[in-house]
Assembly symmetry: C2
Homo-oligomer: 416 residues x 2
């Protein structure tokens, strides 16, 4: 195949234009799902897609599909991500993948490529899950793993219902979710972590997405006077929490890099300088790309808590908050990503995604993989989120090459 | 000496009457210094003292002195404590010592004892330090270790000035603080800790009061995504805080029971389940009755923090909040307490006071000791604060016997 490349200026221009929509007086970017700001962002994506000759369809959960080419009844190739943001966000998370998808299709169209199947650029509703729960909602409804009616009835943090809000902003479509059956799914995304930058690698060929175990641990000991209670008579819930924090760190280090564990949140009661803490509540976030490692880590942690209980002195309650299994992406597409990156002269490494993405919802219904570009400082969900122009363009060109390879490689058949 | 005993019913009745003054609609007891409730409590103490034939004098910081007997110019024997309370308090902290002092004097007067020196029952202003800072203010001003003018100018948590409040409630006296020069000082108090109850001992002969070191430690690492940041690249301030907690506990256990250390308060930032903590702020409370042990513990802790700094990854700030030296009480009076307890058929042990008391302010200017009675469950500063009637009466009788022994033993001379 001859080398063609995307129009970097057009891509960067659109990223910045979309990144300018939904800013407040102080310049903070916030485009929560199904808000007025989200409507304006959607309007921009729809206008660019139609200008590029794509047919825009909208399903009942508000997912946008910009479709190029009817093909010959073969299952479409889907490129997707999301354009909703967190509060005080960066401009790259999600938007980069959607706009790079559009750029790839537009580039293919302009160079006269004529694939044998539709190529679809998808922008899924409410990936961030900030206003409405759960996150990755649009892709989950599309893939059939979350019920449409429950999603539409979801109540936002402001009390509004998602279904009504989608109608209000004009993005409650009439396509049934799942009306398209993708033959493959690709998602290009900023890493949102430090690994690529730290190792000086240009492209991440993402072969898996970590399973997540979130728990809340409540430890009850006894609050006592810090001056008059002998060390040997204390039931110090703060020290018990410290033991949990240290256990989890050692446990994860033993399995690094296949396991991470974090105590991000901790509260003591009564939280006074001169009182031995009587209660501690902490959260545990454990993730692994390997289902067995994650399950074993949970079991080891439960055994540790049981051991603490059996020492006496503490009542410990363990509450499961979130549990998702790891997702393995499609090995063939991951190899295509590696080949495409190398073909562009870029360094590449296989990696797992530490964060959740729409791709994990698509993986059960279509061969799926993701492409990562470096995040400066590993920072995301923050105005300091940044990736330089060159790696943004490089990532989009890798996406372009993988799309071309997939068009050539995908089997015939399927489709809407 | 013949055995005489205090009037238990009278003592218990006054404790309950005073404990009923300053309760809100819900029954919570709060008599903060120089409030209307404090005025009513003072009025009750003054009335009981005058009814018993004592001469009540008030100094410029509002300390109350109920004086019995003119003596022959010998330095007075002082029995004291305080009648202000914390918020939602028990009825025994401080009040027990003041009312037992009054009961002892009244008993001596009624049995026709005629000491060669005045016996003074003191109720010091603002021991608790809840409304006005610092705590133990009245006794510190009396003993000359805190300036009168600064104390009068102290601004309360409600914005009121102590001097004005004392005038408003009619308890700004005209005696200069220190107008009495005690020949000895005794303070009877509930333990506010669990040791006596735990060991089944009736009386604590308090030979020292712990020095206190309060510090605030701020640890700055780096906040990062809990899913995408490898364990080896983290600068987890929460884990650093856990190491501090564990170090302090091990450090205190090595020196137990001569050292206690507590991390009572801890806050993480941003304190989110899926973010590696970037900052931790915690408080450290270390106490010892031994000045060398306390100083060595501070030095070991500072070295530990320095070691953590030298590992890299964390910026650690150490702020000193409070530092008091341990106080050694008078060995001769402590032995009198032991003898008196044994004479009443009570078990007795020497112990240190973990909490601060007016006695520590008096110790530099007069031979001083304290007597403790057990606290149920070690609980204090709480409505559940409790000591049963029998040990309350027993403690007052020990105080009575020590007072009689001291009258006989104190050298002549001194006095106002």
């Amino acid at each position: 195949m001859s080398t063609i490349s995307i129009d970097g200026d057009r891509l960067l221009g659109r990223i910045r234009t979309l990144g300018g929509i939904g800013r407040d007086e102080a310049g903070r970017l916030t485009r929560l799902a199904a808000t007025d700001a989200d409507k304006l962002g959607r309007d921009a994506f729809v206008a660019w897609s139609r200008d590029a000759g794509l047919d825009v369809r909208i399903d009942r959960i508000g997912n946008l599909f910009a479709i190029w080419g009817g093909g010959q009844g073969h299952a479409p190739l889907m490129i997707g991500s999301h354009i909703d943001t967190v509060i005080d966000a960066g401009m790259f998370d999600g938007c980069y993948g959607v706009l790079a998808g559009l750029e790839v299709v537009q580039t293919l169209a302009e160079t006269g490529v004529s694939p044998d199947r539709p190529i679809v650029v998808a922008a899924f509703t409410n990936e961030e899950g900030v206003r409405f729960s759960p996150d990755m909602m649009g892709s989950a409804v599309f893939a059939g793993s979350h019920p449409l009616e429950a999603a539409l009835a979801s109540e936002g943090t402001d009390g509004a219902l998602l279904g009504a809000e989608l109608r209000r902003i004009g993005y409650a479509g009439d396509e049934e979710p799942g009306f398209l059956k993708p033959g493959a799914y690709l998602e290009l995304h900023i890493e949102q972590g430090p690994i690529l930058e730290h190792e000086g690698v240009g492209i991440g060929a993402v072969d898996s997405l970590q399973g997540i175990s979130w728990q809340r641990i409540a430890i009850v000991g006894e609050a006592n006077h810090a001056g008059t209670t002998p060390m040997t008579m204390r039931r110090d819930a703060g020290h018990a929490a410290a033991r949990v924090i240290d256990f989890l760190r050692r446990s994860a280090l033993e399995r690094a890099p296949r396991l991470v564990a974090t105590v991000g949140s901790l509260g003591l009661w009564p939280n006074a300088i001169n009182v031995v803490p009587g209660e501690a509540v902490l959260t545990v976030d454990m993730r692994s790309p390997d289902a067995d490692i994650l399950a074993a880590a949970e079991a080891r942690f439960a055994a540790f808590l049981q051991e603490m209980r059996s020492e006496g002195g503490f009542s410990i309650t363990q509450t499961r908050l979130v549990r998702t299994e790891p997702v393995q992406f499609d090995g063939r597409i991951v190899r295509l990503v590696e080949t495409a990156a190398a073909g562009r002269g870029l360094t590449v490494r296989r990696m797992t995604s530490g964060a959740g993405h729409d791709a994990q919802m698509l993986a059960p219904i279509a061969p799926t993989a993701m492409i990562f570009v470096p995040s400066a400082g590993g920072i995301s969900h923050n105005p300091r989120e940044h990736t330089a122009d060159d790696p943004l363009i490089a990532g989009a060109n890798v996406l372009l090459d993988v799309v071309r390879d997939l068009i050539a490689a995908l089997p015939s058949g399927g489709g809407a």
